[in-house]
């Protein structure tokens, strides 16, 4: 367990997130009530996903500049963990919106139909599908060098498509999701001070947890590849 300080920091930050996230005082908003605490969990998933996709595309560019299989493995594993966090963010978002956006007075079909028109949901679904296509594309190519090159190029395309699908389009269309006016999560005037002292550590904690999982995956793949190379 060399250089384990960030793993310990990850555990401490997540314990803090879970305890302070459920017990601390939050602003009383009629629409959200206690569900505002989801900020420490749902929003952090998207932060972690964005960070992992950025790291993934950085390694993809590194691979194209200097074709080393190590960079390709890094790029792929960060993309996979980014997708996992994205799916978790989507799932938690569905849970949250079911009890804040969906109108309980209407039939389930009617209220979910209005929610399904939400541009943020459609945009993120497209973005995640583009990243899933990245995995399909990768695993469908047998030759390792070709696979690494094509997937690095596709990774850059997928990253570029993140911006219209999750950052630009949802802001141009009418939406219930907060964040149309700018970056509310990063705007210190928008998030209450009582929540910020939990929110920022929570982002770091969740991102470190994802990074830990990714390093484990990378080490496994490096071991497998080394065995293949030695045989």
């Amino acid at each position: 367990m060399k250089k384990a300080w960030w793993k310990i920091a990850c555990v401490l930050l997540l314990v803090y997130t879970f305890v302070a996230g459920l017990l601390s005082n939050v602003p009383d908003l009629p629409q959200l009530q206690e569900t505002i605490r989801n900020l420490y969990f749902h929003v952090c998933m998207w932060f972690a996903m964005m960070i992992f996709f950025i790291v993934s595309v950085v390694y993809a560019v590194k691979f194209l500049r200097n074709p080393s299989l190590k960079y390709d493995i890094y790029s792929r594993q960060f993309a996979v963990v980014g997708i996992v966090f994205g799916v978790l963010g989507y799932a938690t978002g569905i849970m949250w919106m079911s009890y804040t956006w969906a109108d309980p007075n209407n039939a389930a079909f009617v209220s979910y139909r209005s929610v399904a028109e939400e541009p943020k949901l459609i945009g993120t679904a497209i973005a995640l599908l583009i990243y899933l296509a990245y995995l399909i594309l990768r695993d469908s190519i047998q030759d390792y060098d070709k696979k690494a090159r094509i997937s690095a190029v596709y990774n850059i395309l997928a990253f570029a498509l993140l911006f219209p699908t999750i950052w630009i389009l949802p802001r141009l269309l009418p939406s219930l999701h907060p964040g149309r006016e700018g970056n509310p999560a990063l705007n210190t005037n928008d998030v209450d001070a009582r929540m910020r002292i939990v929110f920022y550590p929570a982002i770091i904690g969740w991102t470190l947890l994802g990074h830990w999982i990714t390093t484990l995956k990378i080490r496994i793949v490096l071991l497998v590849e080394r065995k293949l190379i030695n045989d």
Partner: protein, 72 residues
């Protein structure tokens, strides 16, 4: 035999009385876990899940460490 039956009946009656007592009095387990709508129970459950995930990750980490050493 009669004595034993009486003892058992008596103890059951005592237990029933005890139960009556505890409902009228303050609950015996009225501690911090039962305050604030028992939100601390949720905190504890989430911490257990987190601990499970972390222990799992640490075990995988150690296992990979060992395999890496063997591969060198």
């Amino acid at each position: 035999m009669k004595k034993i039956t009486f003892t058992i009946l008596f103890s059951i009656c005592m237990m029933a009385l005890q139960a009556q007592n505890s409902t009228t009095q303050k609950p015996a387990m009225d501690n911090i876990m039962r305050s604030n709508g028992r939100i601390f129970v949720v905190v504890a459950v989430m911490l257990i899940i987190l601990a499970g995930v972390i222990v799992y990750l640490v075990r995988i980490d150690k296992k990979i460490n060992r395999i890496e050493k063997e591969a060198d």
